[in-house]
Symmetry: C2
Subunit: 223 residues, 2 copies
């Protein structure tokens, strides 16, 4: 037994959460996989909820730091000029895809994360929002600077759609496999494929929304 019990539990939990979901993964499954006693989770983490939070925080904090750093680097290089939308998208989603591609456990985590956005469990959503608040604010500002003509609401929706595509991209190809024979062994290819799709969606002509309120000035092309 090389690694300490705490880390073994984190790893085992991460894998089991992806495979069975948060609720369906029991303490007994986790401790059995981690070759630890049943009481070990409560001893090291306090509760199952605290363990879930620890599993997410371990990776998510790092992930969002990387995103901020990527944006910092881009903005430093641009010296005050607006970034290209493509650069912004690539820095945000690229970090995620690369994490998924870097290691089996990274992929495991990204699958878990993608699924959790829509998970209705209250406390998970709460600290997810909390963990994301800073990053979103930064990227929002960068996008508004890059595309001042695009209404903020339109961009938010597209960002939301992009998150959905990312989620499915990493969230396992189980659903995809039922559509036909698929090769998902090449992470680099996945990155390229997803990026093309995301940029295509982002740059699509803005729809003409028939709003109940006064119509905003129309912009034909997003970027």
């Amino acid at each position: 037994m090389e690694i300490d019990t705490r880390s073994r539990i984190l790893d085992a939990a991460e894998n089991l959460f992806v495979e069975h979901g948060l609720d369906a993964t029991t303490m007994r499954m986790i401790t059995a996989d981690a070759k630890a006693n049943l009481a070990a989770v409560n001893y090291h983490f306090g509760s199952k909820e605290a363990l879930i939070e620890a599993v997410f925080r371990r990776r998510l904090t790092w992930l969002n730091e990387q995103r901020i750093a990527a944006l910092d680097a881009l903005e430093a290089e641009a010296q005050g000029a607006p970034l290209k939308p493509r650069q912004i998208v690539e820095s945000f989603f690229g970090v995620a895809i690369r994490l998924a591609a870097s290691s089996p456990s990274g992929k495991t985590f990204m699958r878990l994360l993608g699924r959790t956005y829509t998970e209705p469990t209250e406390f998970v959503r709460r600290f997810l929002a909390e963990e994301y608040a800073g990053v979103i604010a930064r990227y929002n500002a960068a996008f508004f600077k890059a595309l001042p003509d695009v209404p903020k609401e339109e961009f938010l929706w597209r960002f939301h759609f992009m998150m959905g595509a990312l989620s499915y991209a990493v969230s396992g190809t189980d659903a995809l496999r039922m559509l036909g024979p698929i090769d998902d062994s090449d992470p680099e290819a996945l990155y390229t494929r997803l990026m093309s799709f995301l940029i295509g969606g982002l740059r699509a002509p803005l729809p003409e929304i028939q709003s109940q309120a006064v119509r905003k000035p129309r912009v034909k092309r997003a970027a």
Copy 2:
């Protein structure tokens, strides 16, 4: 009490499944909401799993029949000529969006469905795949006829990405709300927004995948 117990249970279960997830929704919550006795679910459906299956089948069968019908209508009108990719996408995703927009319970169901694609529960995935098999085959054929130059694998990936965007589009704006103030009250606007995004993604330039195998002849534009 107008409606019969069986229907009341189906409606209550559908709502609760969206709000709390499949596992976290208990028989006691369902029967309480449906104003029925605890034993009623087992009496009318046999088990909780059978109830879940019934909840999905009630809507999903109808949904996919609509999709087939929409495709039939388009192909009849085209008289053997290939359809435009935009038509195909609109007929597949449009049916889903319209169901979500048609009624509160329709929206409820679409949110549930979107979340379930990535749900790891074995038996749910199995009959989901089974229910989708026919539709996917039809749409695959239509797409290949419309875009014979696009490698089937590329299209499958983009279809997968589009499903992700659809999922997030309907799967509640809980996640979206944490990004900023959002108005999701207008289903028509959502339909238009999502369509623009999907078509933009579908028509994006094909990525140049550096495959390990022999490179397929490259096509610069998908459609």
